[in-house]
């Protein structure tokens, strides 16, 4: 369990505020941009960060994050850069950072070695989309030792018993997937998952954040009524496509501002 992450969640819940989390692909758009982007997101009021470790074959991701991952790898991204990013951010900010990675890079690195490094450089948790609940034993023996939370994804097609199993296994929050599909769907109508969200509100003992396909202030307004927060990924990555290197700080702030304040 990670204290900082829990505190941030508890603080927000206490005042009835919803949590805003942003996903960024490490090493994208340029290799050295990531720490600055994270620091700007922190200043703009984002509650925590998902730091995506680029993978050659991101199976659960749509075209936007696929492309960002490929660009980051072409930029020369190495797994070790993850820890350099953390090191740089931690000199100025304690914003919770969840490392999002597919299983193979971590497995190849050595699970315990990776978790140890993540801990040393100040990560707060992990999200691993292709790690099934049944295989969590690969990670759980080390989570307390390295003060990390493992976050599980809960899709709308999960039967009741899975919902409870995932809730039971969770330690901080549950990552609810807004639709059955890969990340970044553009025309996902949130109204379809309303019954699911209502079930979750009754059944889950942990706070839950909704992610996948969320891209507007309107989406956030909708989800904040039913969930404890939202996670935004592809929309931000896509937005960064058009941002020049020197504009990144300003544009990052503008992006968050547009999401959090009602359109004029």
């Amino acid at each position: 369990m990670n204290k900082t992450l829990h505190e941030v969640i508890a603080r927000k819940k206490a005042v009835g505020d919803f949590l805003l989390s942003l996903y960024i692909t490490a090493g994208y758009p340029h290799l050295k941009d990531t720490p600055q982007i994270i620091l700007e997101l922190d200043k703009a009021g984002v509650d925590f960060i998902e730091l995506g470790i680029p993978f050659s074959d991101p199976l659960a991701d749509g075209p936007v994050i696929q492309k960002a991952s490929q660009i980051a790898l072409n930029n020369g991204f190495r797994i070790s850069h993850t820890f350099e990013i953390l090191k740089e951010v931690r000199q100025q900010s304690s914003i919770p950072i969840l490392l999002m990675s597919y299983l193979n890079p971590i497995y190849h690195y050595g699970i315990e070695t990776f978790l140890n490094q993540a801990h040393i450089w100040g990560a707060n948790g992990l999200i691993i989309p292709d790690l099934p609940l049944e295989e969590r034993g690969l990670f759980t023996p080390f989570l307390d030792k390295y003060a990390l939370d493992l976050i599980y994804l809960l899709p709308p097609n999960a039967p009741d018993e899975r919902l409870h199993a995932i809730d039971d296994a969770s330690t901080s929050f549950v990552y609810v997937v807004a639709y059955a599909g890969v990340t970044g769907r553009e025309n996902s109508d949130p109204i379809h998952i309303l019954p699911f969200l209502q079930t979750l509100k009754k059944s889950l003992t942990h706070p839950f954040l909704v992610g996948f396909g969320i891209h507007s202030h309107q989406d956030i307004a909708f989800y904040s009524r039913y969930a404890d927060g939202v996670i935004i990924g592809s929309a931000f990555i896509k937005y960064l496509e058009k941002v020049t290197e020197k504009n990144i700080p300003k544009k990052t702030r503008e992006f968050v501002h547009a999401l959090t304040s009602p359109p004029a």
Binding site: S56, L103, P105, H108, P129, L133, P155, N157, V177
Partner: protein, 398 residues
């Protein structure tokens, strides 16, 4: 029991997929167990194998090839004579029945050489189900005749340009499709790869190859074979041949991986012999990967072997040393294809030519009583572009 309930073959296998796919895999596993006990479906499968696919396929004594090498007696298991031209139809005939049993309305598949795509399109159109095949753009170029066949059979061929535009990328895209559509769509996996229960299901539908070989060789030679040889992409034709004879420990088994331009060039598809243990495409197995666990680009002249991973049961058989895995280069495979053509009048698929190529190193060192069975997994029609190119090049040089 191999695999165990979680789909493990020793330490290999498992089911590493996003939670969203779990219901589909559970449904598939339940359906498969029920299917095996359902007499009506079983009877239909057996009839289809016989009357539609053309089984049993012959076990042919290749007398000229045997004389050429001057060693053991070489038999060819003629999967190339199956309807659609390769062993792939054994699997798709079974899985389409599973799809119907589950009430699915749509079929998707990945394909490399296009053989699995054609075999899938074939059974889908016959079952009246919508069919979508994912194929890398690179593979579409080198296996054009199969793209045309799939299209004529009514399937939509979706080109995949991501990554290297080969089998790995097509598999990614098919899995992404399935993540969104599994409620109504069945994914017909083309080899003994992917998350449990796919490796088990595909093995089940391919093991007819080995079962027939055992019966046929007993009739011809009055005993079991001594050496089995098959090429290994994902590993379905090899496992289909090996599996029924695995307990017969006196039988030597050889799996041939694609050595591409040569192992030292790094341009190959030898996942088992050159790869590292990893977790990808839903399974724990051996994969070609770099220092950071990024999946590497495989290379083989043969599109059907051009995959950076291998089925988990092969990893297990490699680990336990029950099967010996070796590699053959593009050049060696081409040479073997032309040799089979010249000696036996059979044009093999490039994939199968890899299995044939290893004979040169093995057959001459066996005595004339040794019985060698090579799985001729497919025919070479789809590879004519590559063959004719090679032919003209050779002409030019000689």
């Amino acid at each position: 029991m191999i695999p165990n309930h979680a789909g493990y073959y020793g330490q290999f296998g498992g089911s590493f997929v996003p939670e969203v796919l779990r219901p589909a895999l559970m449904e598939l596993n339940d359906a498969f167990q029920a299917f095996k006990k359902n007499r009506t479906y079983q009877a239909k499968y057996l009839t289809d194998l016989q009357d539609y696919a053309g089984r049993p396929t012959p076990l042919y004594f290749a007398e000229n090839l045997t004389h050429h090498y001057g060693g053991g007696r070489i038999y060819l298991k003629r999967e190339d004579l199956c309807h659609t031209g390769a062993h792939k139809i054994n699997n798709t005939l079974g899985q389409i029945l599973l799809a119907q049993y589950m009430g699915k309305k749509r079929i998707i598949a990945e394909t490399g050489a296009g053989q699995h795509g054609v075999a899938t399109a074939t059974v889908a159109v016959r079952a009246g189900l919508e069919c979508c095949i994912y194929m890398g753009v690179e593979d579409m170029k080198r296996q054009q005749p199969n793209v045309d066949r799939m299209t004529m059979l009514g399937a939509e061929v979706r080109p995949v340009s991501a990554g290297t535009g080969t089998l790995k990328d097509a598999t990614n895209e098919a899995l992404r499709d399935w993540i969104a559509t599994s409620k109504t769509t069945h994914y017909i996996m083309g080899s003994v790869v992917g998350p449990h229960p796919f490796p088990l299901i595909v093995r089940h539908f391919q093991k007819v190859i080995g079962e027939e070989v055992l019966r046929q060789i007993k009739r011809k030679e009055n005993r079991a074979p001594d050496i089995l040889i098959a090429c290994v992409g994902g590993g379905s034709n090899a496992l289909g041949l090996f599996y029924p004879m695995l307990p017969m420990l006196q039988i030597e088994m050889i799996g041939v991986e694609a050595g591409g331009c040569g192992l030292d060039t790094g341009k190959h598809a030898a996942s088992l012999t050159q790869g590292d243990l990893g977790i990808f495409h839903g399974m724990k197995s051996y994969f070609l990967q770099d220092y950071d666990g990024q999946i590497k680009v495989a290379h083989s002249l043969s599109a059907g072997l051009d995959y950076p991973g291998v089925g988990p049961e092969h990893s297990f058989l490699h680990h336990t040393k029950r099967v010996t895995y070796v590699t053959v280069t593009d050049e060696e495979a081409l040479k073997a294809a032309f040799l089979l053509c010249k000696t036996e009048g059979i044009i093999p698929a490039l994939e199968s030519a890899h299995a044939l190529a290893i004979l040169e190193k093995i057959a001459p060192h066996t005595d004339e009583k040794t019985l060698i069975v090579v799985n001729l997994s497919g025919r070479g029609d789809k590879d004519m572009l590559v063959y004719s190119h090679h032919y003209h090049k050779k002409d030019h040089h000689e």
